[in-house]
Symmetry: C2
Subunit: 216 residues, 2 copies
DNA sequence: TAGATTGTTAATCGATTAACAATC
DNA sequence: TAGATTGTTAATCGATTAACAATC
């Protein structure tokens, strides 16, 4: 059972993966000690914000010294739940589904991809990095019997809500949604959207309206 | 020359694509009139926020009536710069690059994909939906001579900063970055990141720490 | 010990929500 | 005209930044 941190704002939570990335980088460079000021210079957050953020989860630093990079990295990993393994499936095995299946770091970070699904007979039976593509009709039983926590939706948007309903019925806890719609699911289900066209449209906006805008 | 809206906060800008999506949907359903209250119910923003957001760009509504869906949709399109065409290239033609190249809606929204690039001789010479993959050594000249506005980086992270430097030198205005690093570019260059693993880690966090968290 | 830097409280800033007068 | 709903100002809420006492 992981410790539960309540009342942490999403603003803070969304910064955590960035801390994770930069601490990893420091560790790779064999930097073992860092102050909030130095991190601030690297990451572009204020030192104050960094100390506030980290103190939501515990006092990982030491006055007069700073933070031990190795320890802090380990803590962030734990906070992010990256020390745990998650059964994962991808629904929709077209270009995007395959691209994500091929993304090696999935496995490395504990996202254990066990199957892909599709309706296309040409794809069913194939394997992507040794992970099989099954007929989508087998999805619900597969999820039931294989302890799947996360469903990744890579289907065209027309099918996304239907797939989401089936994932919920099959007792998945979280959905990583790449379809350009907002899924309707019970509120205990975690949905994280990657709305690619939304992101692209921001570029388009800034290209036209930028006059020294700042963006994150 | 598009009108420049200054001092619009990124919080507002990032909501614009969602308005665009919902208005399109209404139009498809042949709904021609909508109030901020009804939009609020659909989209999950408060009616007050919707009116505030829209009034940053002009008074598109009418007291006692609401908003004309068709007109508002058109305005949002213009604000987002979706009535304009952008020369676009993809760097890195692996699974992800190909997935994005195959994403039909790119063209539909004015993102005119003219070339992909790669270092892999097996890929160079291929075509994805009729768009050729060239040797990456030809990138800078191609961008120079073809009026390219946007570079999409789909390379492994080791090469991303180098590619970004070259894109900047070749006078691209914006970078859509899928590599899991924060690019260092001059401040007049627009960078929009899609950090997939950051997004996935949020799921992992919520799976472990969720006790009725709210997320967007 | 003196210097450095955290943890934490207080102040500020910005974004969201509420309220209501204007007006279609 | 009466009813509805916007545009906009004011109030509230939350997140970021500043400041500093605690302490390594």
């Amino acid at each position: 059972m992981a410790k539960k941190f309540k009342d942490i704002s999403m603003a803070v939570i969304r910064r955590l993966p960035k801390y994770h990335r930069y601490l990893k980088e420091l560790l790779d460079k064999e930097v073992y000690r860092i102050s909030s000021k130095e991190l601030s210079n690297m990451m572009g957050f204020t030192a104050s914000q960094i100390r506030q953020d980290l103190n939501n989860f515990g006092g990982f630093g030491q006055q007069g010294y700073g933070y031990n990079v190795e320890e802090l990295y380990g803590e962030i990993k734990k906070i992010l739940g990256l020390n745990i393994s998650y059964g994962t499936v991808i629904i929709g095995s077209g270009n995007l589904g395959q691209a994500i299946a091929n993304y090696t770091n999935l496995q490395k970070h504990g996202f254990n991809l066990l199957a892909l699904f599709d309706t296309n007979p040409k794809l069913i039976g194939m394997r992507i990095r040794d992970v099989p593509i099954y007929d989508i009709d087998e999805m619900q039983e597969f999820i039931d019997t294989n302890n799947i926590n996360i469903g990744i939706i890579c289907t065209p948007k027309e099918f996304a809500q239907d797939i989401a309903n089936k994932l919920v019925k099959a007792n998945v806890s979280a959905i990583w949604n790449f379809a350009p719609i907002d899924l309707k699911v019970p509120e205990n289900i975690i949905v994280e959207n990657v709305h690619l066209s939304d992101s692209l449209f921001i570029i388009s906006y800034l290209l036209n309206n930028q006059e020294k805008e700042q963006w994150d």
